[in-house]
């Protein structure tokens, strides 16, 4: 069972005193700058410093009239900020027997009934005394509690995923608190710290960040997912040592350039320490260039500084020779060992690279029919080849989202095994506010997995918007796979969206 509550409250208030301050701000700013210049000239400072001050003051005051004009324009109309709160609750009930289990040990079937709660709070556009819509606040987290009687030391688990405030001053942005450094050199890193974003003008931007690494729950205590008392089955108790945040920090910077929406590039560096030792030190570069809406090419590369070697490089081009056809060509080279943490012993082992070349096409054949195909050829070290390819079709017979039918086929050939997969999906609006989905998967493996050659998954949902912001979803799935002769699950979700109610 799950419930979702989200809401937006918009606050409009007329602050006549603040508007009147804004109206005269232009005159106040100019007079203030004149006073500062007068005082600065009276001080004994070096010629170089004085020239630097005048350059800064000219730069600053030249931006002020534009800013005052913008403030004067924005002063027309009420102040407003938005508050949005979300709560989603999921209740699961299922049984699980962990296979294969240590040799000779009885496999125990556990009953699990975890309840998950996801919460989020966001406030947009709070005003500062001298700045409108300058402050945003974001908070989000999740918690899980196991309701069923299981042999586990701690049933309660959770994480604060974000908790930050963001200050926006046009050319300067500050964010403080728990936040993300994502993509490029950083990977996906959560930290408690500060990030600064500067718009340097002429398309240049600089972002920097630094802070303490947030240890993921799984890494806070290795063996996180263990059920029951399995300590005696481990070779080492390393997995029960809690990882300390001391000495785990990260820092990085990114310089990017944009010329319109079609040209750009960036250079980034990310350094991360874990327990006082190097975890990652990576330099990344990106570039993209487009020619109208016809062609756009991009590439990115990541260089592992510690190993002094290229870890990952890829280029791709998107072409649209006609409005109904999108084509993509991609090439990739990876050194898998360099993607591991520098604390990993296996990260310094000798490995071969991995290359992949392929492409994708999307053709909107008819107004209600979209065809998609892809094919990638991989070359592993030692000359072994692999591939992954797929075909799919999405059909909207009525031209709207009332009915959607999707069929897909994919083929993956990897080292030592591969599979064929079929997917069929259907979504139909049954009544005004009732929508149903039906989805099926079929896998056929080249080599049997645990003695089984196939997997079959069937899932369906019924979703209804009940009005006044309420919604209900009932879902279920049945699976037969190498790891479960029969796996049946159900899901009930109740949602409430305050955004739909005007206030």
């Amino acid at each position: 069972m799950s419930g979702r509550v989200s809401g937006i409250a918009r606050v409009d208030s007329r602050q006549a005193s603040q508007r009147s301050k804004i109206k005269v701000r232009r005159e106040e700013v100019w007079s203030r700058v004149r006073r500062v210049r007068h005082h600065a000239a009276a001080l004994t400072i070096s010629v170089h410093a004085r020239a630097h001050f005048w350059a800064l003051s000219v730069l600053f005051t030249s931006a002020l009239p534009a800013r005052a004009e913008r403030l004067a324009l924005e002063s027309e109309g009420p102040d407003r900020y938005e508050i949005r709160a979300e709560s989603r609750t999921y209740l699961e009930l299922y049984q699980r027997a962990l296979l294969p289990g240590p040799g000779g040990m009885l496999v125990v079937t556990d009953t699990l009934a975890p309840i998950h709660e996801y919460v989020g709070l966001r406030v947009y556009g709070l005003d500062l005394p001298n700045r409108r819509d300058a402050l945003d606040v974001e908070l989000s987290g999740w918690a899980r509690y196991d309701l069923a009687d299981i042999d586990r030391a701690d049933r309660l688990d959770g994480d604060l995923t974000s908790a930050n405030i963001r200050l926006d001053f046009d050319w300067l942005g500050l964010k403080a608190g728990r936040q993300l450094a994502a993509g490029g050199a950083a990977g996906y890193s959560r930290f408690d710290g500060v990030s600064v974003a500067l718009e340097l003008g002429h398309g240049l931007g600089l972002q920097t960040y630094a802070g303490l690494v947030v240890i993921q729950p799984a890494a806070r205590r290795r063996g996180y997912f263990l059920l029951g008392s399995a300590a005696d089955s481990l070779r080492t108790n390393l997995f029960f040592e809690e990882e300390s945040r001391a000495g785990s920090w990260l820092a990085g910077a990114r310089l990017n350039y944009r010329l319109g929406s079609r040209f750009g590039g960036a250079l980034a560096y990310h350094h991360q320490q874990r327990g006082g030792e190097l975890d990652r030190s990576r330099l990344a570069a990106e570039a993209n260039a487009g020619l109208g809406t016809l062609v756009e090419c991009a590439g990115r590369a990541a260089f592992e500084v510690d190993a002094r070697a290229l870890a990952d490089a890829r280029v791709f081009c998107d072409l649209s020779p006609e409005p109904s056809l999108d084509l993509t060509a991609e090439a990739l080279h990876t050194e898998p060992a360099l993607l591991l943490s520098r604390q990993s012993v296996l990260g310094v082992f000798s490995t071969d690279g991995f290359d992949e070349l392929g492409g994708r096409a999307v053709h909107r054949l008819l107004p209600g029919l979209v065809l998609e195909g892809s094919a990638y050829l991989a070359r592993h070290g030692g000359g072994e080849l692999g591939s992954r390819s797929g075909l799919s079709a999405k059909l909207r017979p009525e031209g709207t989202d009332r009915l959607l039918v999707s069929l897909g086929y994919s083929r993956v050939i990897a080292l030592q095994n591969g599979y064929h997969a079929l997917r069929a999906a259907l979504r139909r609006r049954l009544w005004q506010s009732l929508t149903g989905t039906l989805e099926g998967y079929f896998y056929s493996y080249d080599q049997a997995i645990r003695g089984s050659q196939n997997s079959i998954v069937c899932a369906s949902t019924l979703h209804s918007e009940l009005g006044s912001g309420f919604g209900v979803l009932l879902g279920g799935s049945v699976t037969s796979s190498p790891y479960a002769r029969l796996d049946a699950q159900t899901l009930l979700r109740v949602s409430y969206d305050l955004a739909k109610v005007e206030k």
Binding site: S162, R235, A266, T351, L395, E398
Partner: protein, 350 residues
């Protein structure tokens, strides 16, 4: 006949039947006939029409300006008024006006426009189908104020946040089929714009592996979103990881892999764990195509998913200096770290 062999023909027949049901798109209202092809300015009942003849607004309600009332059509088309109004309603699928905070009256009063509709709605008169008649957002940037708002990533002056979160971008940051590949780079360079609709929680939905309930289970009705772990990931993930471990490493690290393998008894840190390795993998009779060294060179990440426990990594036992496993480093290998680094000391005892 296997399930798959039965599955495919039935699906194919059903799909073919559905293809026959594809409806033609609604016909665009013939603006050219009404605006340019009229025999007006001569004696007779027909008067010259302009945009304002049908698109009238007595308030700042944009919806009224976009959709003329059916009674206006009946004033000329006296015999077929009902049919015309039903045609008009078919075009409402292109109505984005309710998602924009916009005042026609205020804009028409501006000296730059002088009451003219064509500067923004150019091409509407002769459009016969396809794209929406509403001007693209790029048209709004011809005005300095809106351009500066866009540059500073502020959508809220024109768009209600709760509305834009429901509408996919069309002319900028287009969420098309290639967007999944490009969205990371765009989010890094245009974070302010993305933040108008998305929060960190939205990124976490797909990328945060600490969330115990994966997104495919939280949003089972989202059939069109390209979630990575659809279907039966438990059985297929080992094949997909070997097909391209780089994509796995964008979200996962080997610690998260080993935690699950530990739970299920296949990790190297589990006593009496079931070994997935074939004969000849290692030991006295190791060699040939099944030798672990070949597999490790090809796919070290898969090894690390079970054999990456820091100083307890069992590879150290054979590959430390003096042991019979030999030097594991690649030729020309170098590191900026000294041998007394903690990780180096696992093998290189001082």
């Amino acid at each position: 006949m296997s399930v798959g062999e039965r599955f495919v023909p039935v699906l194919g027949l059903a799909f073919g039947a559905l293809l026959a049901c594809i409806e033609e798109p609604p016909v665009r209202f013939p603006h050219a006939v009404h605006l340019a092809d009229q025999q007006c300015q001569t004696k007779g009942p027909e008067a010259c029409l302009s945009c304002g003849s049908c698109h009238q607004s007595s308030s700042s309600n944009t919806r009224e300006m976009s959709l003329p009332k059916p009674e206006l059509c009946s004033s000329c088309h006296k015999d077929s008024g009902v049919a015309i109004s039903s045609q008009k309603s078919a075009q409402t699928q292109f109505d984005f006006s309710s998602t924009i905070r916009f005042s026609h009256q205020r804009h028409l009063a501006m000296p730059e426009l002088l009451g003219q509709c064509v500067p923004c709605h150019a091409g509407v008169a002769y459009a016969t189908g396809g794209a929406s008649p509403f001007p693209p957002m790029e048209k709004c940037f011809e005005c300095h104020e809106h351009k500066s708002q866009w540059d500073s990533g502020r959508c809220a002056p024109c768009h209600d946040r709760k509305d834009i979160e429901r509408v996919l971008p069309v002319t900028f940051l287009q969420h098309d089929s290639a967007f999944l590949r490009k969205h990371g780079a765009l989010a890094r360079s245009q974070e302010k714009v993305c933040a108008q609709c998305h929060t960190q929680s939205d990124c976490d939905d797909c990328h945060d592996l600490t969330q115990r309930l994966r997104v495919e289970r939280r949003l089972p009705e989202e059939l069109e979103r390209n979630f990575v772990h659809r279907g039966d990931p438990l059985a297929s993930h080992s094949i997909e990881a070997r097909a391209g471990s780089a994509s796995c490493m964008r979200c996962h690290d080997t610690a998260s892999c080993d935690d699950c393998h530990l739970e299920r008894g296949v990790s190297a840190n589990r006593r009496l764990a079931e070994s997935p390795h074939p004969p000849g993998w290692m030991g006295s009779f190791a060699g040939g195509s099944n030798f672990h060294g070949n597999a490790a060179r090809r796919d070290i990440v898969s090894c690390a998913a079970c054999h990456d426990q820091g100083p307890a990594t069992n590879c150290i036992e054979c590959h430390k200096p003096g042991a019979y496993g030999g030097n594991p480093h690649p030729g020309g290998w170098q590191s900026a770290r000294a041998q007394d680094d903690a990780m180096c000391r696992y093998c290189h005892e001082p």
